[in-house]
Point group: C2
Chain length 258, copies 2
Amino acid sequence: MVSVEHPPPATAADTIQTALSVHKAVIVIGNCLVEYKGRASSKLESGERIVIIKEDGSVLVHRPTDYSPVNWQPPGCLFQTEVIKDKLKIRAIRRKPKEAITIVFDKIYLLVLLSLVDEGEFSLYASEEDMQKAILANPSLIEQGFRPITYEKKVEPGFVDVYGIDQNGKFVVVEIKRKTASKDAVLQLQKYIESIKGTVQRDVRGILVAPDVAKGVQPLLYKLALEFKPLSPRRCAEVLSSVRTQKLSEYFKGLPEL
Amino acid sequence: MVSVEHPPPATAADTIQTALSVHKAVIVIGNCLVEYKGRASSKLESGERIVIIKEDGSVLVHRPTDYSPVNWQPPGCLFQTEVIKDKLKIRAIRRKPKEAITIVFDKIYLLVLLSLVDEGEFSLYASEEDMQKAILANPSLIEQGFRPITYEKKVEPGFVDVYGIDQNGKFVVVEIKRKTASKDAVLQLQKYIESIKGTVQRDVRGILVAPDVAKGVQPLLYKLALEFKPLSPRRCAEVLSSVRTQKLSEYFKGLPEL
DNA sequence: GAGTGGATTTCGCAT
DNA sequence: ATGCGAAGTCCACTC
């Protein structure tokens, strides 16, 4: 790791170009302008920012506040550095979609060159997929006697999260949301049920699984004769922790055949 | 701006705590573990990363690749630093939703303290809102004789982007997408039309405005008797550039009353 | 404070 | 490659 305070622009330009060519990451802190043209266009007037260029060719321009970068470029950019009138100009270009950002520094406070090594594994729990897995692994989370038949079943308007039979032999369509379910979720579920009702003779129940429902959703559920089963992603992650495997399809093994 | 290479953990802890208390930004580069618990949970094993803590209490943990941070915290966090067994532990906590990330550094390569000043104005062109404005300012972008009546009109399933009358007095519902329109966009438009047809006696046309449509959308449009008007955000931004005002409502002024 | 929809969304998976 | 939907989405705006 190399860090240089207040490097002259020419030095900075060379250093950055070299670093990028050997796939090192670069951090530049200083006063700059940014322009973007591509899917949209943007202009950012002069100010002090943190710019990160990663070894995969992604770019981030961060202002002093906010979670999200004010300008950026996803991985895969080509770079070009240049000194114009004592200013450092960095241009990052992407094909497909064709777009580019141009960053012009008139002051550079700090330049950092890095070669980070990061083999650490990242695992995330309690996604919607985890909820799906938990239900397949432990169908009684829905209700006593529920038996899943398929997951991600294709019906005309889209894909049903989980599809199964209840203890009375009725078909059950399960729609899963990891957050408070909105009106949209209910309408989606309704669409699936309509679609399935058109193809089978049996009764079809619809169950919305979510930690909560938005206001005004409860009456809608009642009106459409759909059911709600409260279930949090956290709870699902716990249930899953004892039987966690890799793929969703693994959870499907051994489900009762219709 | 202060940058320190390889600071001892105790010094780093104090420095960071002080910096955060006076709302300075901090960058820490080193080898760390990250754990997150809140809306979901995650664990990130040991590796070298760039951590940015901004003055507004947002946190970013960046790996050597990728546009998006592997872990983060939106603005408004409270911080706590600590040294345990020669390791620097940083904890960022947020209420509402209740969540926290914990970052433990066992090696610190670089510590940077910053007080960035950034008053630069940011402007973005060619968003979906720009397309809406362009159409209101120049209705013939849709077709000869089209007259907008309202925008963001509330109908049961949601909001209609632009609503108007064609030269034959038929109602027109316009759905705008700034990217290739998917099946979803068409179904949304269809929902609006159904809803409006239920309340008026006149014919209602549906026009999907987008730079392009996804494969399989064309037949769907035909089947539902909807129309497609190709229009790019870029083109709209150009049209708009000559008449750009501030608010969407400004473009609505002087629209013909029904 | 909750609900709704856009984003230069990004990301991942399936076709 | 394209399409489709989820995301610890974030964010701004409305009610």
